[in-house]
Symmetry: C2
Subunit: 217 residues, 2 copies
């Protein structure tokens, strides 16, 4: 493959994030800057349509963890990719697998940025995917949530801790890995010290460096 | 404070790293690029001289963990900064505290890059310090170690796992935190996908962004 061909290849970026760190806004701004599609809730819609499960169910079951997916997978002869055949599987597991497949399809189709949904795990074997995690200290996140969600300080703090606990539980139960663990990401950025635009710039630089890098360490 | 004054302020960067990830080389190259001093083993020398403990002891006790530092600290009326008065403290704890103080002094004196030595913890209250962690997947690190340390593949793998275990144990016992945990770092980079020069560039960009950033997320 020539260098030109590598530059022309897809840019696939997954973003995990602590609640209130601005991860979603960073993904959105990055998608505008790079002119590639962004998926968050939209991804649910695609997965819902493709799997034939109603969109409404996707909304109400959004990121609800389950502990029985690994059991379900081990008993499913079709493996990941055959969720539509899993008639005995609990609904939230079907939803997860439908999203899981949607992420993989999107990444095959072309460049994209995907926020949340264990996308780093779905794309763990993708040769070019860049897995990013955005975090910030609790104080900075609380300040942001007070502004963006119109919450009091105690409400913002409670929300931040509660939603991160939910995200960790969802991620850990489906992937068998630990949410926010360094080894799952190519790049992690504390948005509290460089801001939203700073984080966008760092991810952009990283993606360009990765696309042109072919050596070893 | 004017923007100019902020740009003129010190650049203090700490680098933690998995063995074989190129973290030390990244720190060294970054120090050349930014024209600011680099400390690794040199730091031991300074700490040794300032504490009056012989340099030889520093070398042999380098990064040997202890589980009794917190006890020692709790019984020391002088706290961190009074290690020379701690006649009853185990030698490795004295060494750690001497290094700990040396890191703090260096960061007060001016710009610097410090690799290892729990420097991120020593500077956790420093208003401008940038804490970086460099990692890469085991396969990439083993390849690098085979080349740089002239090891066979099994030797390189054994070394990588053994030394990281030692580093984690040293860091965890002295800081009460978990080595390589995302929350301790402002930036983590997988050097395996962007290379040494790529990682240097990302840290450089991040430092410039942080120096000029004054807002909230």
């Amino acid at each position: 493959m020539t260098k030109g061909a590598i530059f022309m290849s897809n840019t696939v970026i997954t973003i995990g994030r602590q609640f209130g760190s601005g991860g979603r806004e960073i993904g959105k701004k990055l998608s505008e800057k790079l002119e590639i599609p962004f998926y968050d809730k939209e991804l649910l819609t695609i997965a819902a349509k493709e799997s034939g499960i109603s969109e409404e169910l996707f909304e109400t079951n959004d990121e609800k963890p389950t502990s029985s997916l690994l059991y379900s997978l081990s008993t499913n002869p079709y493996g990941v990719g055959g969720y539509s055949a899993m008639t005995d599987m609990p609904l939230n597991n079907k939803l997860f697998l439908a999203q899981f497949e949607a992420v993989q399809k999107l990444a095959q189709q072309g460049s994209c940025i995907i926020v949340g949904r264990c996308a780093d795990y779905a794309l763990r074997n993708h040769p070019q995917a860049i897995n990013v995690f955005i975090h910030a200290d609790l104080e900075a996140r609380v300040k942001r949530l007070m502004r963006t969600e119109k919450l009091t300080e105690p409400q913002a703090k409670e929300q931040a801790l509660k939603i991160d606990k939910k995200r960790a539980s969802y991620y850990n139960s489906y992937t068998g890995k630990k949410w926010g663990n360094i080894d799952s990401y190519h790049l992690t950025v504390d948005s509290g010290v460089v801001g939203i635009d700073g984080a966008v710039k760092i991810i952009e630089d990283f993606a360009a460096l990765r696309a042109s890098y072919q050596g070893a360490i």
